[in-house]
Symmetry: C2
Subunit: 786 residues, 2 copies
């Protein structure tokens, strides 16, 4: 399919995302889709010359600025200041003058413009043919990478040819701090002011081939260094010089080029930041990284990048036969999940990774509930590091719990560096489920990796402190049931409810698992003050946990009383009124039966054993009819449970929606960054939904199903030191051990032993379930042929 | 009791509030207690010379400025701008120079300083003897009034004597706009900026004996004129001249006075404002009012004021034998309720009246639920006018309802001019009960006055539009019950709950009464679009209204599920942690059993017939144990229901707490204005609590009871064109018709006919109820002797 045919800027190809012509109107989207990151450095796909742009962005993981959080009416425990990711020193900038005319696509004639994100090479390549207003034709080819192997490094190879006569080229390769950003719509002027020029210059230096700028953030006091170095290949007369001022480092290359010649510049970039290290230390750190990168060289960086990705794709690749668009989409999704976490190294993985400024660069429960289950199976070290980051912010979380009058740890609903940054507590502080989500990510990670040392050294403390939170947050009622009142579950169209089933089930598992793991590691548990009485109190609360059930309807209410609420008037709500939160007040959404995103259905995905098959079917049908998917966190979960309840074609539609959220800009906000949770959910829809994969203390099991639209799905995963591949066709499924020792698994309940030889099993027949319905106008786009 | 003995700045006297010596540390409190107002103009009890002060304040009813309402995270339907009462042109200022030394109490020697608020004269008088740093002794006597008979007028008589030798006196009598105000603690700098100099000068003029300043508010564009005129009585050589600049009008009087002589200046002040009238119109309006006041003269104004109050006190006076402090307190309370409403004339009655800047000068449900039931019986025209104001803001309330997706009218939780100004919707927009409170004030006013024309012309539309709101806000569940979900009742330590009993009972009455009144006035009802079907739907919703009841505990839960919630840890909460909202997060308060202010107990006060005597007793005991009274809206209500359930001594304690809230500064915030609702509740505690007064369609009834601490209570009220007085002694009660035609009433259920001759009945014996308990440390101060 060509770009024009699907109405998107991109063509459909298996291993790359190609924009064959410049789409100025989709610039924000392409900047996000083409963003490169290694989890430490993130660079949006801005044009080399900086303009035109939608949102210029270069980010360093966890480098943030403080900003005021204003309230019309304040309250105890409201956070006073927030944290916002900032656009750091821009090293992507390479400006070009062509016989004194600036190379700017908005002027002159653009003969050709192509950008390609290569998912195997890990590079963004651009090719341009342009005729200047003064009729000079040139060809520019640039290749950009953010190194997955050298964490502090990015590099750009920039080549210019002239096409129709000798031309003087001036290339200005820059570092620019405090770039002017587009005004945000409805921005609070105080916040705008706080973030207008966040970087205070500390030092600027230049050498012949490069420069270094050191800054500190104005309020948060974080020190940041950015350095660049260049290699230039051009005619003998080519000249290079560099200069630096407080906010600008500039290397200028001047060359007189004739047709057939190429001016080639390799730009090496290095970034570092610290909240503690001295100016000389941070300065030297980036210069050293730069020296190492130059030692590796451009070709060396390219080769390392490809090798890293080859190793990744051996396990991570998902093959989809029967839908080329989704084949591309799932590879892009997997690539962006990797980019978000690969080298985050004990820092947060944000909701947008490092691809944009959406949600202020904050990390939410998305990380543990959506991204980590994928990373634990595809890049387990990255998952472990993300959880180590959570452990590193335990002091802030324990302080927050104390402030709230609770025991243990209360992790922030949204944060960069560990402090609560949510300015609306009913959908922030009250969403305590994030604590159980973190505990569950620990449990799943250990199940996926078998890493008992991690469990003891990192996991145990997270489990203990979250269990303590739940024990203090809930209480036993007169009938002896353990209740958790006044909290908010995943669905943000409800808030401050009693006994949210998702929260209570996740808290139950958290309490149980903490007791189990503490019993398994008695000495470190004792060091955390855990004794037999405390463990007993966790087990007791877990076993008394109240899980409301509506006997009349035969379904679980999302929370106490939910099914007594008025139905939302779906028929009376036109398409233009979605997302509802922009058109209806919270009070109205909260008190009616309308669901933004999977909540009870997510509980079924994460804890299937808490539901009978009949309950799962009835619950799915009930909630399907009132879920409007105003959040991108919903479709992948609905895909999984639809697949489990036999609605395979519907599951496929939801899978497609999750996979295409950014390629198709389905939420209309891809310009502010990629939806990492939805990207991750895409993989989960395949492995957990169609693959029926579950891991628990009994090992790993699969229950594959194939939607009618596809002829084959193949996916891989790491499991306790092995690499495993599952290939599903309409009639049979093949399990293959790509590497690692023999293992056992279950196929639709049947135990199997798997060693060097693949094992093939027949696919069971899928009984046809009763059809389910979505709210008026909110069905997913029908993609399956049926 | 002297001022020193009770630890307060005031002595205890029956008809006045006297501060016998200056209490600088209590300046904020005395400024509020000594505030004079007629409901149109309000003047805090600032010293004539302006300084020292706590909070300078001159207010005009509904003259407000717009200010931004900031949100850390915004939402649909959040109000973007608020309204704040502003300190208008200060006409109270009279500065004095004594031989070139400014008269300032902080310098020189203060021999005597006394201020007296005279509740029969309606004046604030001050007498000072002061020796200047240069040893000049003077005596200053000033008397200030805000006229209850001439709405636009205030006046001051200012007299200076010299005590020990000829002295040159310079008196500067001023109008000052944009006075500098003390910085508010934790003020938002944007809000401070918006309110710093709210008045933009339009015109300034001076004449020999006075001046006029015209301004407009900067954002809200309201035009304000203030004018002054003077009469001067002094030695022949006395000179007077006046000048004006944009923000200052100044009349200067110079006199050489010898001992035995007095310099006497009468200052007449006139205020007017309009959102529509032209500059000349507003200017001429204040000059005309001033001319009328001068025509009346100072003595005339004093005489009118006393006559007005004499007429008022004939009915309104409450006599309390046995507690001199409460005798004084209830008269002060009644006086301030009168001042808040007397001449408001179709403008709002704020929570603080016009006595301070607390709550931004906003009007809440306090008006209808606490103040109007009193005014309907003591100053019925003022009550009618307040409800006419509500009708005048129906367009804004209907617009708000539409914005919220509701029918009818959604009155603002807090406002000055009718627009919602609440920046925290869970305790703002969600508190829909205000609409039923307004409807109930209509019902009570008509019951008190018998004013059927008011019912038809004003009440009907309020009843219809609020009934429509309820019909659209609630819904029938599958079992046929009418539910109102996701709202907030009076208790602000709960929010966003289902089926709050108070709300549902009040909505039920609103729906029923609207149907009744519409049936009674069919033609005007038809003009409002009411038809038989709609009336039937109101009656149906009312009769199906869900009122939850906890069968196990035998009490009404405040809202669905309330009694299942965890008990607040009262024993673990030290006194220093009250009020709780300053020390605990909302989420914690909301999900536990802890009550800020009467909610279910208020429902019992307002709708006693909805509860059996046993339910009332059990409910009162249950809620008494969890109510912490962090709101001043609670004690009076608890007094009423304590009296009804036989806890007469406890009722007396609560009555005392309500009565003394400002004289004793019990809430620590009297400096920001008087607690008008608590003042009004004091009267209600007497009439409704001890008097057992109820009015309904069956007429008026009493069920008097006397607490053991008192030997006699006598209170009066207007009822359907009559003035009635009820006198309660330990053994008997006397009903006396002071004026008006014969009537019927009930005494403890017994029908009585009352004409010229008083009727005396025995008091029945009161059975002793089971004692009740308050939360640890939260019992009211024991005042009763027992």
């Amino acid at each position: 399919m060509t770009a024009a045919e699907n109405g998107r800027p991109f063509t459909v190809e298996p291993w790359c995302v190609r924009e064959p012509a410049l789409h100025l109107e989709a610039m924000g989207q392409t900047e996000s889709v083409f963003a490169l990151s290694n989890g430490h450095i993130g660079m949006r796909g801005n044009l080399d010359e900086g303009e035109p742009h939608a949102i210029p962005g270069t980010y360093l993981n966890s480098l943030y600025e403080r900003r005021p959080l204003p309230y019309a009416e304040g309250g105890y425990g409201y956070p006073e200041s927030g944290q916002t990711i900032i656009n750091v020193t821009n090293g992507k900038l390479i400006r070009l003058l062509v016989d004194d005319e600036p190379f700017d696509l908005r002027y002159g004639q653009l003969r050709r413009h192509e950008r390609v994100l290569d998912l195997q090479a890990g590079t963004l390549t651009r090719e341009v043919e342009w005729v200047s207003p003064a009729d000079r034709a040139i060809r520019v080819r640039s290749t950009r990478l953010v190194s997955l192997t050298q964490r502090a490094i990015a590099a750009i190879c920039y080549e210019v040819e002239v096409l129709d006569g000798p031309t003087t080229l001036v290339v200005q390769s820059e570092l620019v701090a405090n770039e002017q950003l587009p005004q945000r719509a409805n921005g609070d002027p105080r916040v705008e002011a706080a973030l207008a020029e966040p970087l205070v210059a500390e030092q600027h230096r230049s050498e012949e081939a490069g420069a270094t700028l050191v800054h500190q953030t104005r309020q948060s006091g974080l020190r940041l260094a950015a350095a660049m170095d260049h290699e230039v290949y051009g005619p003998g007369s080519t000249k290079m010089s560099s200069e630096a001022t407080e906010d600008i480092g500039r290397t200028t290359v001047i060359a007189r080029i004739v047709p057939g010649e190429t001016l080639r510049i390799v730009k090496y970039l290095s970034y570092g930041w610290s909240s503690r290290r001295s100016l000389p230390a941070v300065h030297d750190q980036v210069r050293a990284a730069l020296a190492a990168a130059r030692f590796t060289g451009w070709e060396g960086l390219l080769a390392e990048q490809r090798q890293y990705l080859d190793d990744f794709w051996i396990t991570a690749d998902v093959e989809i036969d029967g839908d080329a668009e989704l084949q591309q989409a799932i590879r892009l999704a997997t690539f962006h999940v990797l980019q978000a976490g690969a080298r985050a190294e004990r820092r947060a993985i944000g909701a947008k990774g490092l691809t944009g400024d959406g949600y202020d660069g904050h990390t939410f429960w998305d990380t543990e509930t959506f991204a980590l289950p994928v990373l634990s199976h595809l890049a387990p070290d990255a998952a472990a590091d993300a959880l180590r980051w959570r452990r590193s912010i335990l002091p802030q979380a324990m302080e927050r719990a104390e402030q709230l009058g609770l025991a243990g740890a209360a992790f922030p609903w949204r944060t960069i560096r560990g402090h609560e940054c949510s300015g609306y507590w009913p959908a922030g502080t009250a969403a305590f489920h994030i604590n159980a989500d973190i505990a569950d990510a620990v449990r799943r990670h250990v199940a996926a990796t078998g890493d008992i040392e991690f469990e003891r050294e990192v996991g145990l403390e997270l489990l203990v402190q979250t269990a303590r939170l739940w024990r203090s947050l809930g209480h036993h009622d007169a009938a002896g049931e353990f209740r958790i009142d006044g909290v908010t579950g995943p669905d943000e169209y409800s808030a401050i409810v009693d006994n949210n089933v998702y929260t209570n089930l996740m808290a139950q598992l958290n309490l149980r698992h903490a007791a189990e793991v503490a019993a398994k590691h008695p000495r470190p548990a004792a060091r955390l003050g855990v004794n037999a009485e405390e463990m007993a109190s966790w087990r007791d609360a877990a076993s008394s946990m109240r899980i409301p059930f509506d006997e009349v309807l035969g379904v679980h209410p999302q929370a106490e009383g939910f099914t007594d609420h008025q139905m939302w008037d779906f028929e009376g709500t036109p398409a233009s009124k979605y997302p509802l939160l922009l058109h209806y007040p919270y009070f109205d959404l909260y008190r009616k039966q309308v669901i933004k995103q999977a909540d009870l259905v997510l509980a079924m995905q994460l804890q299937p054993d808490a539901f009978t098959p009949e309950q799962m079917a009835r619950n799915f049908a009930y909630y399907e009819a009132i879920t409007v998917r105003d959040s991108s966190l919903s479709a992948a979960t609905q895909a999984v449970v639809a697949a489990w309840t036999g609605h395979l074609d519907l599951a496929f539609d939801y899978f497609a929606e999750a996979a295409l959220v950014d390629l198709g800009d389905l939420a209309g906000n891809t310009d502010h960054g990629m939806h990492i949770a939805s990207m991750a959910g895409t993989w989960t829809a395949v492995a957990s939904g169609f693959g029926g994969m579950r891991t628990d203390r009994d090992g790993i099991s699969f229950a594959p199903r194939l939607p009618s639209a596809l002829s084959r799905i193949s996916f891989g995963l790491k499991y306790q030191g092995r690499s495993l591949r599952v290939t599903i066709t309409p009639d049979e499924v093949e399990y293959r051990l790509v590497s690692g020792p023999p293992m056992r698994l279950r196929h639709h309940g049947e135990p199997l032993a798997l060693a060097d030889a693949p094992v093939v099993r027949d696919m069971p027949a899928v009984p046809m379930p009763e059809p389910v319905e979505q709210p008026h106008g909110r069905s997913p786009r029908r993609r399956h042929p049926g």
